[in-house]
C-alpha cells in the first residue's frame, strides 16, 4: 500500500461511491421487492365468498311491519308500509351476529345493545349497526348491496 492510498483511505473515490451505491441500492431493492412480492402474494385477488350484492326476494315476501333475519347474508330486512330497508346483523364491536330482542337488538358476545335504528344503546360497540342500499331489480326483486352503506333514514319506497 503506497502513501497516497493510505491518505485517501477515508475519502470516497468515484469508484468506491459507485460500488457502494450500486451495491447497497441493488441489495435493498432485491430484498424489498422480494418482501413486497411475498406480501402481495398473500393478498387474495379472488374471494370465494358470498356476493356482496344479492337478491333478497319479492317485496310481497316481506309482510308490512316485519323484520326478517336472513341467516346466510347476516342481515335484517325491515319493511314498514311501502318502505324497505336493510340492516347488518354483524355487531360493530367484534363481529358476532346480533339477535333480535323485544326492543332493538342484542349482541351475545360482549353484551352490546342496539335500538330499532341500530344505534348503540349500551355495551362496548363503537358504532351503530350498518345500513345497506336496497334497490329493485328488473324482475321485481329487492336487491341488497352490502358494499354500499347508507344512512339509517334512507329507504326504498315502492
Amino acid at each position: 500500500m503506497n502513501h497516497s492510498d493510505s491518505q485517501n483511505k477515508n475519502q470516497v473515490t468515484r469508484r468506491s461511491f459507485v460500488r457502494l451505491t450500486l451495491g447497497w441500492l441493488s441489495a435493498t431493492f432485491a430484498v424489498g421487492a422480494s418482501a413486497a412480492a411475498a406480501v402481495r402474494f398473500l393478498v387474495p385477488n379472488v374471494l370465494f365468498e358470498p356476493s356482496q350484492r344479492f337478491k333478497a326476494g319479492k317485496p310481497e315476501d316481506f309482510p308490512d311491519g316485519s323484520v326478517t333475519f336472513m341467516e346466510d347474508e347476516r342481515i335484517f330486512l325491515v319493511r314498514k308500509g311501502n318502505t324497505f330497508r336493510c340492516m347488518s346483523a354483524i355487531c360493530t364491536h367484534l363481529g358476532c351476529t346480533v339477535n333480535r330482542a323485544n326492543q332493538g337488538y342484542h349482541c351475545p358476545c360482549h353484551g352490546s345493545v342496539f335500538d330499532e335504528q341500530g344505534a348503540v344503546k349500551g355495551g362496548p360497540a363503537p358504532r351503530g349497526l350498518e345500513w345497506f342500499l336496497v334497490s329493485m331489480s328488473k324482475d321485481n326483486r329487492l336487491v341488497v348491496d352490502k358494499g354500499q352503506r347508507v344512512a339509517a333514514d334512507k329507504y326504498l319506497v315502492l
Binding site: V43, L94, G95, C96, P108, C109, P124
Partner: protein, 428 residues
C-alpha cells in the same frame, strides 16, 4: 458393590467396535470422561461440561424454562401425529376431529395431550417469565435473552391461537372471529392485517388454510429458532443467573485490550466479556450426571403429567362451526379472557392499546431497569419497587382472566360461578 445388570450390558456394548463408534466415551467414570461425554455427544454438547451448583437448585429456577421446552417437544410429537390425519378443510376438519375421538386408535389421547400441553405451555412460559422477573435475571448481560423470551411468549400465544381454529367447531370459529376482529382495531393497518390473516373478509376456508400453514410450519419453525437462540444465549451470558455474580461481570472490553494472562479471557474472545469470573471450580459440578439426570427425570415427569391429564380429561369439542349463531357467551381461550374482559369495555383500549403497552414495557424493561443489584435471589429487597409494580400488573391480569373465565355468562353479563345460571338449567 455389585454392578447392576443393566449397567453390565451397557458397559459390554460400549466396549464393542460398534459401541465405541457411536459413543466415543463409554459410561463416564472419571472426571475426564464426564467432560468428554458432554463434549463428544451431539445432543449433550449444547450444554456445558460443568455447571454452577446454583443452577441446579430446583428452588431457584423451579425448572420452569425446561418444563416449557419439554411441553414444546410433546407438542411437536403429538402435533406431527395429528398431521397424519388432519386436513385443513372446512368440510372435513370437524369430521376428522370426531374420527380422532371415536375411530383412530389412541387418537383421543394424542389430541388431548396436544391440547393440554398447549395450555400448559402458555402457563409455564408465563410462569417462567415471572420467575425471571422476580429473580432479576433479565439484567445485564441477559437483556437480549429477555427480549428473545418475550418474543417466544408471543409465539406461544400465536401458536395456541392458530391451533384453536383447526377443529372447526363453534368454539374455534367464534374465538377466531372475535380475535381477528380485535386485530382489526389496530390503527391504520388493522383492517389490512385482519384481511391478510383471514385471506378474505370472513372466517372461511382461506382462513383455515392460512392458520394451518402458520400453525404447522411458520410459527413452530420460528419458535424452534427462537428457543435455540434462547438456550445458546443462556450459556453465552454465563449460565443461569446467580447471586454472587452481581458486579462480577466485567465491562465490555475492546478485543485488543483483552487480558492476555488469563485464559478465560481468550476463551470468550468473541464476546469480549468474561462471564467465567465468579465461577470457582469448587462451585461447579459435572453436568454428567448431575444436570443430565435431573433433566431426564423432569422430562419423564412432564410427560407423565400431560399423559395423566390427557387420559382423564378430554379436550373440548363443540358443535360444527356455525357462522350464523354465535354461542352465548362467545369466549376466547382462557389466556385471552383477561383481554376479552378489557375488550368488553372498549375494543380499541382493551384489544390494542393495553396489549401494545404490555409488550412494549416488557421489551423495554431490561433497558429501563439498569441497576445491577438484587440479581439471582427471589424477591430481593433491593428490587421492592420493580417487584411491586410487576406484582400489581400480575394480580390485575389474573383477576381479569378469572372474571372473564368464571364470572361472565350470557350476553357477557355477570354470573356467579357457584350458582347455576337459569339459562343453563332450563334445558333439564
Amino acid at each position: 458393590m455389585k454392578t447392576p445388570w443393566l449397567r453390565q450390558i451397557w458397559d459390554r456394548f460400549a466396549r464393542t467396535r460398534v459401541g465405541r463408534s457411536i459413543f466415543r466415551v463409554g459410561l463416564p467414570q472419571s472426571n475426564l470422561e464426564k467432560s468428554q461425554a458432554m463434549v463428544s455427544s451431539f445432543l449433550l454438547h449444547v450444554q456445558p461440561a460443568k455447571v454452577h451448583k446454583h443452577a441446579l437448585k430446583a428452588s431457584y429456577s423451579l425448572g420452569l424454562g425446561l418444563i416449557s421446552l419439554y411441553l414444546f417437544f410433546i407438542l411437536i410429537g403429538t402435533g406431527v401425529l395429528l398431521m397424519f390425519y388432519y386436513v385443513p378443510s372446512t368440510e372435513k376438519a370437524y369430521d376428522i376431529m370426531k374420527d380422532l375421538q371415536f375411530v383412530v386408535s389412541a387418537g383421543l389421547v394424542v389430541r388431548n395431550m396436544h391440547r393440554w400441553a398447549a395450555h400448559l405451555m402458555v402457563l409455564f412460559v408465563f410462569l417462567h417469565m415471572c420467575r425471571v422477573f422476580y429473580t432479576g435475571a433479565y439484567k445485564r448481560p441477559r437483556e437480549f435473552n429477555w427480549f428473545i423470551g418475550v418474543m417466544l411468549f408471543l409465539l406461544t400465544l400465536g401458536l395456541s391461537f392458530t391451533g384453536y381454529l383447526l377443529p372447526w367447531d363453534q368454539l374455534a370459529f367464534w374465538a377466531i372471529t372475535v380475535g381477528t376482529n380485535i386485530a382489526g382495531y389496530a390503527p391504520v393497518i388493522g383492517p389490512k392485517i385482519k384481511f391478510l390473516m383471514l385471506g378474505g373478509n370472513i372466517v372461511g376456508q382461506e382462513s383455515l388454510t392460512r392458520f394451518y400453514a402458520l400453525h404447522v410450519i411458520v410459527l413452530p419453525a420460528m419458535a424452534l429458532l427462537g428457543i435455540s437462540v434462547h438456550l445458546f444465549r443462556v450459556r453465552k451470558d454465563g449460565g443461569l443467573s446467580r447471586p454472587d455474580e452481581s458486579g462480577d461481570v466485567v465491562e465490555q472490553i475492546p478485543l485488543g485490550q483483552l487480558p492476555t494472562n488469563k485464559s478465560y479471557g481468550l476463551m470468550e474472545l468473541a464476546r469480549g466479556t468474561t462471564p467465567q469470573v465468579g465461577k470457582n471450580p469448587e462451585d461447579e459440578v459435572f453436568s454428567w450426571p448431575h444436570l443430565v439426570f435431573r433433566e431426564i427425570l423432569l422430562f419423564l415427569l412432564v410427560v407423565a403429567v400431560v399423559l395423566f391429564l390427557a387420559v382423564f380429561w378430554n379436550a373440548p369439542l363443540e358443535e360444527f362451526a356455525n357462522p350464523i349463531h354465535p354461542p352465548n357467551p362467545a369466549k376466547a381461550p382462557w389466556y385471552f379472557l383477561g383481554l376479552q374482559e378489557l375488550v368488553s369495555y372498549s375494543a380499541f383500549w382493551g384489544g390494542v392499546v393495553v396489549p401494545g403497552l404490555i409488550v412494549t414495557a416488557l421489551v423495554a424493561l431490561p433497558y429501563i431497569d439498569r441497576k445491577r443489584h438484587g440479581v439471582g435471589r427471589w424477591f430481593a429487597s433491593e428490587r421492592v419497587v420493580a417487584n411491586t409494580i410487576f406484582s400489581v400488573c400480575l394480580v390485575v391480569a389474573v383477576v381479569l382472566t378469572i372474571i372473564g373465565t368464571s364470572f361472565r355468562g350470557p350476553n357477557w353479563g355477570w354470573v356467579v360461578p357457584w350458582h347455576q345460571s337459569p339459562a343453563i338449567t332450563e334445558g333439564h
